[in-house]
């Protein structure tokens, strides 16, 4: 699969986790692709840490407003029903449990739902930003990531080796080949991508996979 097509595969599956009226937060990377896979009639509200609720897509060239960006600095549009808040209120939405679902990328995620995505000691340490609060307090946290890193190592592991963003915080993991649910007993393989065999998923995953009684579905 090309880079674009695997990212789109992940984003399209992730879009199914959003329904009418939901308050949603998208992290950087693959999460920013999810919204385009939702049908226009589904009304949902995208929260950005810098105090926007009801963010639309990125602006067409020439339509930029210097006072309206997302948390990564990109110029964005608003949807009807949008609102602005200061940083304190914006994070009250997060820590107060008003994010229905958040999508984050991962460096590592464990079968128990631990997430590491903010620091590689000695290499990459730009600061925590809002990730820790989103990971810990979103009502539902979906990790969207490629199944393996560039060297081919599993990103889904038995135990995270990197410092954690949050412990037991991940509700669902979506990759280009599988949809998995961390549970107390271990990682449950819910779905396998079309054209991929169970054995390949097993080989490319760094922790044991449990199978649902009816077997994994397809996506």
């Amino acid at each position: 699969m090309s880079t674009t097509s695997y990212k789109d595969k992940i984003a399209a599956r992730a879009a199914q986790e959003i329904s009418e009226g939901k308050v949603v937060n998208f992290g950087i990377g693959i999460p920013t692709l999810i919204a385009k896979f939702l049908p226009p009639e589904v009304q949902f509200f995208v929260h950005a840490e810098n105090g926007v609720l009801g963010m639309g897509g990125r602006c067409a060239r020439g339509q930029e407003d210097r006072n309206l960006i997302d948390a990564g600095g990109a110029y964005v549009e608003l949807v009807p029903g949008a609102s602005f808040a200061d940083s304190s209120v914006s994070f009250a939405m997060i820590r107060g449990g008003r994010l229905d679902v958040a999508f984050l990328g991962a460096l590592e995620v464990s079968g128990k739902g631990d997430l590491a995505n903010w620091i590689i000691p000695g290499k990459y340490a730009p600061g925590i930003g809002g990730a820790m609060e989103v990971a810990q307090k979103a009502r539902r946290l979906v990790v969207v990531t490629n199944h393996n890193d560039r060297a081919g190592n599993p990103k889904i592991v038995e135990e995270c080796t990197l410092p954690l963003t949050g412990k037991s915080c991940v509700d669902l993991i979506i990759t280009e080949i599988a949809v998995m649910q961390p549970t107390r007993r271990g990682l449950l393989l819910l779905e396998i991508a079309e054209g991929v065999e169970l054995e390949e998923v097993r080989q490319r995953t760094g922790t044991e996979l449990l199978l649902p009684p009816e077997g994994p579905g397809r996506f």
Partner: protein, 231 residues
């Protein structure tokens, strides 16, 4: 009643060694003209509280690069390689907080409280091992002290002569909490109107919090549309 004054008069309130709170999240809400004034004045040994360090060679970054900042209290430097490099070489001290916790530390400072209790980061050893914790109502929590500034530098769209402030869109961000938490509060504004001209329902920061208002003659170039943030 008139809090409008010159840039020089307002910035004369900033002294070496001060803790300076600076509004803004990326470009929107960052008081670039006040920051350029500080740079020109060369006031040093500053502790700066800001969400991030702006991008390379912009705003706060210029002060850090000029060696005027001793310490940054911030949340994320991901868009600024220059300041990350200076941090890694020990040229500027950096203290990171989760973004909303930084906002709450400031809010507590402004609200006359002494600290707050939070579970954010409690189960991640990297954060909890460096923090004071306490048992409270049956669980262990991180104790965060309130944060106050000697000076707050803000950017608002509009002010009246009493200092009532109105922010634009996502340029609000940290400005309202910082307005409450510093001894001296200075706002650069794009427009000044007469007292009575702002609808009381539309005021974001009541004038009681604001000491000085500086009217911008022109917007700094950073407030242009940044090419690298366009698709």
């Amino acid at each position: 009643m008139n809090k409008v004054c010159s840039l020089e008069e307002a910035l004369s309130r900033v002294n070496p060694g001060d803790t300076v709170m600076v509004g803004g999240f990326g470009v929107p809400g960052t008081p670039f003209t006040l920051l350029d004034g500080l740079l020109k004045g060369g006031v040093n040994e500053l502790t700066v509280v800001k969400n991030e360090a702006n991008e390379d060679h912009m705003g706060i970054s210029k002060l850090v690069e000029a060696g005027l900042v001793r310490k940054m209290i911030t949340t994320h430097l991901g868009l600024n390689k220059t300041v990350i490099g200076m941090m890694n070489r020990g040229e500027v001290e950096v203290e990171f907080y989760p973004q909303g916790i930084l906002a709450e530390k400031i809010r507590a400072g402004g609200a006359g409280l002494f600290g707050l209790l939070t579970d954010i980061g409690m189960d991640t050893e990297l954060l909890s091992s460096t923090k004071q914790t306490m048992w409270f109502e049956g669980r262990e929590l991180i104790v965060e002290s309130a944060l106050k500034g000697d000076v707050a530098l803000l950017h608002a769209a509009k002010a009246d002569r009493f200092g009532n402030l109105v922010y634009a869109k996502s340029a609000m961000n940290f400005n309202p909490v910082m307005a409450t938490a510093a001894t001296t509060v200075i706002a650069e504004v794009e427009e000044v109107v007469e007292i009575g001209d702002l609808d009381p329902e539309h005021v974001h920061t009541p004038g009681a919090f604001v000491d000085h208002v500086v009217l911008l003659e022109e917007l700094s170039e950073e407030y242009g549309i940044l090419e690298h943030h366009i698709i």
